[in-house]
Symmetry: C2
């Protein structure tokens, strides 16, 4: 694990993190913006765990939590005063705190994360980049703290692990991931219901949108790159927006021969959210970093400004460069 | 477990099945027609296991094995003479043996299966309907026989479990399923590569076909039923056929509010393969049985003759009836 040096950030191990959580109180647990199953699952599982040991805690999400997570989301405590302990879960950089950044960005006491790209913005960091999801870490942390896991905590944890691994599909999954899943099955989990909700529940309007998006699919660089666009016009026509669009990026990575799937979602007049999904030897995180974004090796994103044509050309330019570098490397190896 | 009585079929338990396999030799292992990951994974894992204990064995599949399974499919032994032991894996009824039915249908010595709908056509049956996949049973059987599992066997077993569970998504998954997956991860498995191949590798022509199919999507019974048609014309225009079409049925079960997803694939001038995917309280197997087919509670199929309009009306008729019965039951409960 190589992470950027940051003198003011102390790296903790699991035991130290458990001790930290037992020692402090009045926890403000932060999730990242565009909240997904892992950041929300981690925040609520940690919340329920802290409640079990008599702590006060609240969960703050920079955006409205999508209703599909209602089965594990509950009202949390009201934390008053300045004597709080701020924890960010699954938040790789303070910029990802969105609307909470100004208030909390520079006073995060502890981050618990699995992103290798974590920028060490917190006072303390527990990073396990081998974990498939931050929820995997939270589960181990709860065991280490000897906190009782209950049904709702299990649901939150399972949700994070399932969503961050594409339901145990991706390369981040390890034997440990499956063992934790097996242990969570001991609770009233109804994993099939969770999976249906997370993976197999498209609104009819989304089916409409997907049809439009596929209609405009472009293939580039000998079919190694698939590009999908979700224009403002398409969003307006179908009524899809925000979290409706979450699943679209997956479409771009499932076509034979494609090792770079790009989805451009229009988020403003001259603003697009680029989502990149790659297969080896391409590195989505490295490409998105050049675009001012970040993420994982296989899935990353960036916000890119310009007209659709400008953004396309910019993103495709970096992908072409990455493909050429890959070709050069394999030529050298021969 | 309730199964139809059949005096001539002996029900075995795991130990008896292991003893049976150790006792006999010259195994002919049969898969079902339209071979999927579970029947092929079971057949090859069993083959490799039997080879480990010095037995002669061959795998027979009624159809050409799709090349995507090449990573665990190898040439098997040539079995000569009449002194063979015939085993069917994941084959619920002898009619599913397809082109192998005439030769082997009435002389299967042992069936190993997880389908509750198994018709007990064999001399001996080991049925575990709680197993998510027949590969789960084969894994336990290999352990019971104290046979070494190796990398290729692990790949075959993982493939069967992953494909029959929608990659650990469906309600057939148990804690045991995840424990077995964790144990298989101890081998050189590259599960992510297998999953990419099984779940996320669409040909471009399939993307074209999906677009056409979605274009003609019909919703019935207040949106509780989605009907998709894959006509011969669509197959011809896109060049998709056979196993290309495997994934289409999944589209029909992923729309919000839909509890009956029907996919009609044209297989002849007046012949359609109906694939039904349901959610509780509907029972796909019960509906397909009325159409002369069968399968699981959540996924079943039948071959239906007639013009597209006739077949539609027939299939929708049974679904409407099932929905009405459901409505009646819930009305009575109130």
């Amino acid at each position: 694990m190589r992470i950027k040096e940051n003198a003011s950030c102390r790296l903790l191990n699991l035991s130290q993190t458990a001790r930290f959580l037992k020692k402090h109180d009045n926890y403000v647990i932060l999730t990242h913006a565009s909240p997904d199953g892992d950041t929300l699952g981690s925040a609520y599982a940690l919340y329920y765990g802290l409640k079990e040991i008599g702590k006060c805690a609240t969960v703050l999400c920079p955006e409205v939590i999508p209703s599909k997570y209602d089965y594990f989301v509950r009202e949390t405590d009201h934390i008053k005063g300045d004597n709080t302990t701020v924890i960010a879960v699954d938040v790789a950089d303070k910029s990802l705190l969105g609307s909470l950044k100004d208030e909390f960005g520079d006073r995060v006491d502890l981050t618990i994360d699995h992103h290798i790209s974590n920028t060490m913005y917190a006072q303390n960091l527990y990073l396990d980049s081998a974990a498939s999801a931050t929820c995997e870490i939270i589960y181990e942390l709860l065991l280490k703290m000897r906190v009782n896991v209950n049904d709702i905590t299990a649901k939150a944890l399972y949700t994070g692990i399932a969503t961050d691994t594409g339901c145990f599909k991706y390369s981040c999954v390890t034997a440990k991931t499956h063992i934790i899943a097996a242990e969570l099955y001991e609770f009233e989990l109804d994993a099939a219901k969770i999976n249906k909700l997370m993976f197999d529940t498209k609104s009819r309007k989304l089916v409409e949108l997907e049809k439009m998006v596929l209609e405009g699919a472009e293939y580039h660089f000998d079919g190694r790159c698939m590009l999908l666009c979700v224009t403002a016009d398409m969003q307006e026509k179908t009524g899809c927006s925000g979290t409706d669009l979450e699943g679209i990026a997956v479409l771009s990575r499932s076509v034979e021969g494609v090792i770079a799937g790009v989805t451009l979602k229009q988020t403003g007049d001259n603003e697009f959210k680029a989502s990149l999904r790659t297969y080896p030897p391409l590195n989505a995180s490295a490409i998105c970093k050049q675009l001012g974004g970040g993420g994982h090796t296989a899935a990353a994103g960036a916000t890119v400004n310009g007209s659709l044509e400008e953004v396309k050309s910019k993103v495709l330019g970096f992908i072409e460069k990455a493909l050429e570098e890959t070709d050069d490397r394999s030529a050298t190896c021969k």
